[in-house]
């Protein structure tokens, strides 16, 4: 690695630091906001009424309630399922496979494929929510084009399979990022390796596992971290699409937090949920990084 022993770096350290000051100020403000959230999580601050003006310190009450009261743990589970299937299996897995296939195939309409998955990524969340609602509802496209002609009863998919629809819509939305990242990473790998890995036959999976994946290890690890962090805090698409329902079926942590803080008005408890989210993902990140280090060693 580069070290400060270089003369030019030593000389440049000061102007570098000065140029970084504006960003540092922003980050400090962000940390201040995070600190406010931590402080609030130990109080009973509310949005309205008496406790909005004179909150009192309640120690770890809010955190104890995370465990003892219904709701939070269920949302942790929902969020974990949602993140695992939509981000790790879906976005990362499909993104990687798609990148390999696209690199090795000679499909003529490649840029069309790219446009298709990019559209999902670039469509604003609210727009995506409306599209998926129209797509999955009982007079939506899946029913009208696929199920009804095949003689099935029309199914209200958001009614019966809400979590599945939400997971699929997030795969639809987020795969582009992983695809682009892996696709760019594959540019550094020779074409033969990719094609060989993709050949059918008994060896393909073996080769994929032993040849290609080790080459991409660093990118896969980094990307897993990225998508886990983003997906764990994912909010607007689900909120617009189902609002957490039916029942609590799709109530991920960010929605649970929003409801506690703004519908019930318990800012203190909501802050505790937010901090818990950070701790969970922080723990996951350390786990990922450890895994990665052990394997490369």
């Amino acid at each position: 690695m580069i070290s400060t022993s270089h003369v030019w770096l030593r000389r440049s350290a000061k102007p570098m630091a000065i140029a970084a000051i504006p960003a540092v100020l922003f980050i400090l403000l962000f940390i201040f906001y995070a600190g406010w959230t931590i402080w609030t999580s130990f109080t009973d601050l509310s949005l309205l009424g008496r406790k909005s003006i004179n909150p009192s310190f309640v120690g770890f009450d809010n955190y104890i309630r995370l465990i003892t009261r219904d709701g939070f743990l269920q949302s942790v589970w929902t969020t974990t399922v949602f993140t695992f299937f939509s981000a790790i299996v879906g976005q990362c897995g499909i993104g990687l496979l798609l990148a390999i296939i696209m690199k090795s195939s000679r499909f003529r309409l490649k840029s069309f494929v790219e446009f298709a998955i990019l559209f999902g990524w670039l469509a604003p969340d609210v727009v995506a929510a409306f599209m998926w609602n129209a797509f999955a509802s009982s007079d939506g496209m899946i029913n009208v084009i696929i199920l009804q002609p095949l003689g099935f009863e029309s199914v209200n998919l958001l009614n019966e399979y809400a979590i599945e629809v939400v997971i699929i819509s997030n795969i639809w939305k987020g795969t582009a990022w992983s695809y682009l990242l892996f696709s760019a990473a594959l540019d550094t790998v020779s074409r033969e390796v990719i094609e060989a890995a993709y050949m059918d036959g008994a060896n393909a999976l073996q080769r994929l596992r032993h040849v290609l994946l080790p080459l991409l290890r660093a990118q896969i690890a980094t990307n897993l971290l990225f998508v886990t962090i983003w997906t764990y805090a994912f909010f607007s698409l689900i909120y617009a699409l189902t609002g957490g329902g039916p029942g609590r079926e799709t109530e991920v942590l960010s929605i649970y937090m929003y409801k506690q803080a703004f519908d019930v008005g318990k800012l203190g408890y909501g802050s505790a949920v937010a901090i818990a989210m950070m701790l969970i993902v922080g723990g996951l990140s350390i786990f990922y990084v450890r895994q990665n280090k052990d394997q490369t060693r």
């Binding site: 309205l48 709701g71 809400a162 189902t242 957490g244 329902g245 029942g247 409801k259 019930v264 318990k266």
Partner: protein, 439 residues
Amino acid sequence: MRNLLLSVLTASVATGALVSAAAADITITYPSGWEGLMEPAFEEFEKKTGEKVVATVVPKEIDKRITIDLAGGAATDVIVYDSYRTSEYAESGYLADLNGYTASWADWDHYFGSLKDISTIDGAVRGIPVYTDVRMLWYNRAIFEKAGIAEPWEPKNWNDIFAAAEKIKASNPDVEYPLYFPVGTKLGEATTMQGFYMALLGADGAEGGANRLRDWDAGQWIGDSPAIRKTLSFYQDVFVNKELSGRELYYTPDVWGDMRRAFANGNIGIMANGSWEFNSIWRSAGIEKSTDERNEFMAWTKFPGDGSENAPATSNISGGWNIAIAESSEQKDLAWQLMEAIFEADRYAEWVAGQGRPAVRRDALEAPAYKADAYLTSLSPLLEDTTGRDTFPGYSSVSAFVQQATTDILDGKSIDETVATFRENLEDEFGEEEVKIIE
């Protein structure tokens, strides 16, 4: 490309500078859809006072925006808010005391006493009501005919409602929602009012808060009562035991519009809903229907009590919206003048009748536009026999707990578990001594 972007930037900065309000302007925040009431009033006010009105029209979730504005000390001079917030806003000191203005405002005498009470906290008037509403069961007449249910339908108890919905389900399997009954958190207050309260109020007598969420005499919230359990079992019957309703309509991206289109398209048999729906359904569905055609299509009946001994024969509850002045406003006198312009009698009466909303003052009831509306006048018996929510400070939390409780039932939890959670939530929020248990 660069030039295009630059010109866009300059244009945006210019508009940004133009629209930021100068300090002397009078500011107001109101929901979209109220332009008909507001804009002529602004014009008149500007002509009369020479001041400029700067309005912010909010297309959704105005409740959240107003609350954050008030809490953050950045509210406009005049605000529009859901009347149930009055006590909470007043407790936090967000709303100006309007006594000084109403005392010398002749129109104040026209307002109904019950609505004045909702907006008056500890003797101080905090907001002026705009309109109110009542609640009932709407039903689709064609679906009823097909199910062989006699009209006019007058259910005497909850079993009559279930029986009718069962008949609809049996005779017409295409109807996904034989009984639409607001549930869950996405509908917000609608779940509490159009759903939970309507059942709760009819589930027991009024003694000691037995059919309410709060015992006002004892100064306690009700954490558990036979009426609460009966209401939750109503939900359980509708959504779990008898499966009289689908679930998706309560959670779509556009919960209101989708519900209305479902009713207009014959996908709902009976629905617990508000008086505004006689108009809103058709506006939402984009269908022009004359009053006669609407009457041909749909009819309403009072929501019955559960049929037990103490319970009232029917239930009903009213809400509404208020206009108020923020305590933080530095030009309250001007703000009041703007409010007087908004409530100018003739214009107000015509607007409120056009909205299909029950007016809140006697003179508007006498206005020709209102009197000519047979539907609005038919609501009068309900308006005379109504009640309001338990809007003691903290109510919005209680309401959110109620919505969560209905969610629990939908998720398949037992009544015992659901009530236990509801009670725990109340005790966490208010302390055990402020929560009452009715055996």
